[in-house]
């Protein structure tokens, strides 16, 4: 068995791994690297601004012929590669593996796992893409938005199902095993090969008390361990953290508290959270209803994910919310909110103060609504600790505080497992080899230490690798 760790082993993002057994290659995930996308967009914006500036300086008189770039440009494979925004799968060409790819498996619907498919999949014609219903729907939505047609066969698989993939060197059984994380329809993929099982465990967060769906399928993990698990690729992002994040039940409880606090307010109530976090949104709606207000979701990415969940009938709060997508709709709705602050509970984008999110635009005065003293804003999120987010939120929060908006922050538990979860999975699966994934070398390293508690030896049975490397087992 050979493994090529294509992407996500040097950064948080653009996850992609390929496995070769005999003449057959399998790909796991094709994600995006968001900071690369952001940079690409900024460069575009800069080019645009400079073009404008130079026009202005030269007093060319008319800006009529100026072409404002599409808000969401169609990214080309080339530009995405230039900015390192997609995994560099050209290594598979060099290895002669590309032609041998028999299937692409997508673990879940987050962009760092599924977001690269629209741009890369055409390089693997006719190779089927396997994903759970929600994940597949999100994939289709992204492709549509980008006006890319996906021509590969789409195999929609249920969690806890098994599928057969025929290869040249044999027939493979792919098991999609339900796990919990911070969106729905997440699976670990266990590929049964003649040389043993390849187990792909990204992303990891074990929640024994989810508020939607079942806990992770521990029984299956144990069952599999009785066969020969040759290699475990494991989400090591929080391997440096001993403290276990709470269950989503705890987040639900925090949401309950936060909304209870503002229930009798006559002022506006806004909540912001991760758009793909259907379970969280469900809790927000559940307690939001108790305020007696109409619940309205606004923002593009919220629309994208919630709509996908509805489409696959995994959106329990479907009937209780209104979903607004287009800027016009949103502006006209916000005008109503401005006047009748106590009629709506708004769930919106912008928890990281992202440029052009709903919150960002409101705070900058670019919408028809303005926050006033006593309005309420609940952040069901924590700040992703990159300097850009810290600075953006710092600025936003200061403005909101000055206005007198009542903020509740960190009404949240995060979605990646800690050391304890990793220990559990290792204990259950008993793999021969372990490779930490989903981060920089520095972030992956602590998993080597954890593995050593179980007797894994660095360089023998536990391994650090990097993007584009091949390891043989």
């Amino acid at each position: 068995m050979e493994v090529c760790t294509v992407g996500g082993f040097k950064e948080v993002g653009k996850n992609m791994t390929a496995v070769k057994v005999g003449e057959d290659v399998f790909i796991f995930d094709m994600g995006l690297y968001i900071p690369g996308i952001v940079e690409l967009q900024e460069e575009d914006l800069l080019t645009y601004t400079q073009r404008f500036k130079s026009k202005n300086q030269h007093k060319s008189g008319k800006s009529g012929n100026y072409q404002k770039p599409h808000r969401q440009p169609q990214y080309t494979e080339e530009r995405l590669r230039e900015f390192g925004a997609i995994p560099d799968d050209r290594v598979l060409d060099k290895l002669g593996w590309r032609e041998k790819v028999r299937a692409v498996f997508i673990s879940h619907a987050h962009l760092d796992h599924v977001g690269g498919v629209p741009y890369l999949i055409k390089r693997y014609p006719n190779v089927p893409v396997f994903a759970t219903p929600f994940t597949m729907k999100v994939l289709e939505t992204i492709a549509e938005d980008e006006k890319i047609s996906l021509n590969n066969p789409k195999k929609i698989v249920q969690p806890n199902s098994v599928h057969i993939v025929k290869g040249k060197s044999g027939t493979y059984k792919a098991e999609f095993i339900h796990t919990t994380h911070s969106t729905i329809d997440c699976v670990f993929v266990a590929l049964h090969t003649p040389e043993g099982i390849f187990f792909y465990a990204l992303d990891l967060k074990f929640d024994n008390h989810p508020t939607m769906g079942a806990p992770p399928n521990y029984k299956k993990f144990k069952e599999i361990s009785r066969k020969n698990v040759k290699l475990l690729i494991l989400d090591a992002l929080y391997s440096g953290t001993e403290k276990k994040p709470g269950s989503e039940t705890i987040a639900r409880h925090l949401i309950e508290e936060a909304i209870a606090k503002v229930r009798y307010s006559k002022k506006a109530i806004f909540v912001t959270t991760f758009s793909s976090h259907i379970e969280r949104l469900n809790s927000i709606v559940e307690f939001g209803k108790k305020t007696g207000r109409e619940i309205v979701f606004i923002g593009r990415s919220l629309y994208k994910y919630v709509n996908a969940a509805m489409a696959v009938k995994k959106c329990p709060f479907k009937k209780h919310v209104k979903l607004l997508k287009y800027r016009k709709q949103i502006n006209s709705f916000l005008r109503k909110v401005e006047k009748q602050r106590d009629k709506y509970l708004i769930v919106c984008t912008g928890h990281q103060a992202e440029e052009n999110s709903i919150l960002d635009r409101i705070v900058k005065g670019e919408t028809t609504f303005r926050f006033r003293e006593g309005d309420n804003l609940i952040f069901s999120s924590s700040i992703i600790p990159a300097p850009i987010n810290i600075a953006a939120r710092d600025k936003m929060d200061k403005k909101l505080k000055r206005i007198g908006v009542r903020l509740q922050k960190d009404v949240h538990v995060h979605g990646h497992g800690s050391r304890e979860d990793m220990r559990d999975l290792i204990r259950l699966l008993k793999p021969k080899h372990i490779i930490p994934a989903h981060g920089t070398l520095q972030q992956e390293t602590p998993l080597i230490e954890i593995a050593s508690e179980f007797g894994y030896k660095f360089g023998e049975t536990s391994h650090l690798t990097s993007n584009g490397k091949v390891l043989k087992f």
Copy 2:
């Protein structure tokens, strides 16, 4: 109204405040400063060690005449003052207030609030001490342990009750209002005086979903605000923290998870937590029972608090646990544990790796039990962030890990409220003046900032003070 902030305004500990209205003075809390006690003990130990060393060096031959100090020496008022372990209430003599004290009110059973009473109360002969049943019982236990007789009248008061105190300049109504914190029977004390209400809010943690008893009596807070709240003394310990600690319901949930993880283990199971935290202990017992093991509590301070809770009939798990106090009993019990590891779930002292706690003694090999690979230890606590604790736990944890003990840490939510709780109380009470308490100047300062959000002006309606100062209102 004059206020003398006697202790706890320069450190975390030895809380004590006195209020004077006309010719009548009232005292709120008389706590200990634990680091002072520790230092005093160390000094004693040192003296003892040196005496031994010098004997040994001089080869005096016999150690028979050597007097080992009592494990728990009787502290004298003088020595406690020398080491700053009790509030310096001699300031009341200087002010001429001592003779005018009409009542002492104790807020709750933690040592930094009640622990100084045995050593100081004799300076206030005949002055009644008011406390809730549990607090009073703990006070009596401490006094007994120290062989001090408490001769002052003891007034046992129920939470949410009102008592009249007669003074020289009038008659005062003392309201004991139920609040939540991290032990039971906690109250805020509102003293109704002719000049307005003095409100003593130490310690603070608002829990709307406690697992035992009711949430804080918000209704009463609101009611009181309609009268004239002249001054609020407020626990500001965590005023620098925006993040709200979770409800005890969350801790209960974490306990459930932690115990579920080890339920089927055949090895030893130990849990350690704060001895006074009856609510937490209740959750531990609740889920501990599911392991089918016998639950045994060992350690002196556990004995002290749990026994007090039993005595006042506030220990719901009374029938489900065995309580061991004496070293002999404990050693004989631990011998059994050594042999039948899967028969007991032991709750013990030592979460901070305190010298001479049960865990400390086990790890140092001073008991009849030794941890082995696979044994389980749950810390339902977090490390109190002082260098001494960090170092002690670091050392203990390393040893335990080397042995292969399976640790679960931080199965805990902490017991002091955050900024949000302080905002809530200020909003509800609308006091004229605010004084932050329960910490160093540095720790109290952020409350001034919070108060300023509500329009309080530093130096006019919000005030920083220090030990031994007097402020007039």
Copy 3:
């Protein structure tokens, strides 16, 4: 003696203190609050952008009638007040002090001390402004840039000189005592009044081995202590830090090292540092000369400060540098650098990655020069730890690293004294009272603790205050 702490007691910036003795009032410093300015500018930019956007959206066709705002708008007193960018000296009107102001003393040339003068001084007609030559020159430059004429009498004073100010209630001696900080011509001001000496010690950094000029005038401090120092207002910004910042001799040494490392490079060499730090610039020039390259200073604020230093004949490196101010000049010069990278050593603005600084513009591709692999950039500065700076530098540094620019960072010692310096001054002056200044309450608080080491008692002889408060002594 009454003291009104007008500004700089709630933030880092807009320092201003007023002292009243009898019928005479004296003002110390009138600074700007830079974050307020930044916000004001952003608001302006936003307005401009939105205007543009809306035009564009409405397809008004022509942008010809659009008025781009002045790069550096003329700030009005009103707008500056609105954004809290200047001290709120209207409190002096309320107190009836404004008419009684006899003199304004400026401590040094940093904007948070002198920058508010142009906007506020007209409220104090005929009141003389006292400043050292460099400080006065900088003040004049700012006023000119803003097209404000300063009509008040200007009193240029030498460090270590004494001046008499006549008041209604007496005649006052103002002593301007040389101290070290991070620009030149800094003084502490000691105002001798009938009621004792008022000592204004902002900003503080004691350097016993400066590379230009003399160490602080310790002798004078001691001498003064023999008279009655009633009150010391003391820069407490770093009172939380035990570690002493190194002397400027150390910075000089670090500069030597950093430049030695790149001396034989054939690529571009850029250095960036604080524009007002003449002493540092002198070291950069001293070792820069050894590279044999021509040394060119570019950037507006560098021009402003260095030009002022030249004007007052306190610029030892005058003959060794070329100073470019205008964008055209700079662009044409950078075009030459692009071609002859090894001919110039460029000192430029932008160490905090400030918007529109030279570095910012180069990195964004807005100039005629682009960094290439192997070019050298020395940051003789550390990042001012505000989220906005951290994020801006993080982004800039990442870009530079990706290009392959060789960065040397933190070639710097900072310019505010630590606890040790404060202890020294207290020891030397022995003032009766101490008020910490130059920060938030949180930042000032540690000085109270330091003072307590010397026996000062909080609330009696050491005092915390806030903007706009009055204290009597």
Copy 4:
């Protein structure tokens, strides 16, 4: 070429690497792991204490037959192995390398490099040990103290000298190249083999302005790069730190400042620093002399190192200090200091508040001297950031402050190079392969990133390894 990374690749300490070329093996360093030693000592102490306690409890009446353990027990190889205090060189037996060892090279005199030799060298009979004069002298001193006789041939080599070692598969040239660190006589070892140069660069700190001796031999590094440097083993301890530690010239300057501050004090003056840091001690003596006081060094480890430096004639301050070793001498001397505080400047051990160091014993009252108010203590060190040190110093510092001792801390620059130094060496040597050493995986990882700036690829030309692993090149 095969490399076995025996020790120091999983921890900071017990450095040891073996290289095999053909039939010849070479060892580089044999260090101790200090925390292992500490633990061993504690265990011993515990055993002793328990024995005492049990005696006491059983009232055996006499302590006369009790055997107090030797203060400094003779450690056996077995016990040292048990506590992981020496590198596990038994791997060389397994590899069949032990018999092939031709030479042992010691880089410098720190215990984590030379301290294991006395316990391990007998396993390599007749194998010569190469070390610089100071390093060899320190080695001999340790062995003497431990009463171990070193029977291997000792080869004393000068920095910047070359020596020939004959092997079975060829003749090797070992070059000992002068480098700077935080003790004297430090070398990098370049072993010229038929397969290329093996370059051992532990420990690293490049100081271009040392206060004793020459800067690192950069010329030689460059020269060597022209040959084929196959492998570089590099001290990566501070590879996570961008900030360059200052030159020792800066430390000298800080010492000057610190001593100047106390020069006219009539109270005691103590200075404490790293005992092996001859260069630092030299600066302390240089400026200490200006106080006119007699300079006395006290403490065992100071004696050990300074005496060794004197023996090899590398102690420039030889004539200016008195060196006390024995407890009796020290006590009698301290009695004099107690009475004549202004006559002596004492340099002593205990900067980390180590148990039984001079400072520790003074502060605990175990000597004939006690600190009093106004006494001066200079820490020419920083706290090594392990919890045990932090806690010990926290406690010591608090006690000293309470007494009123005037502390100056962090009068220090540290002795391991930063990223910049590593970049320099890589740039100069241009090795084919790089292995980070001297730390945990976590600490070594950042060097992989630095190497990647130069094009090294992880897993191909840059390598992470662990204790006991073999890599082939």
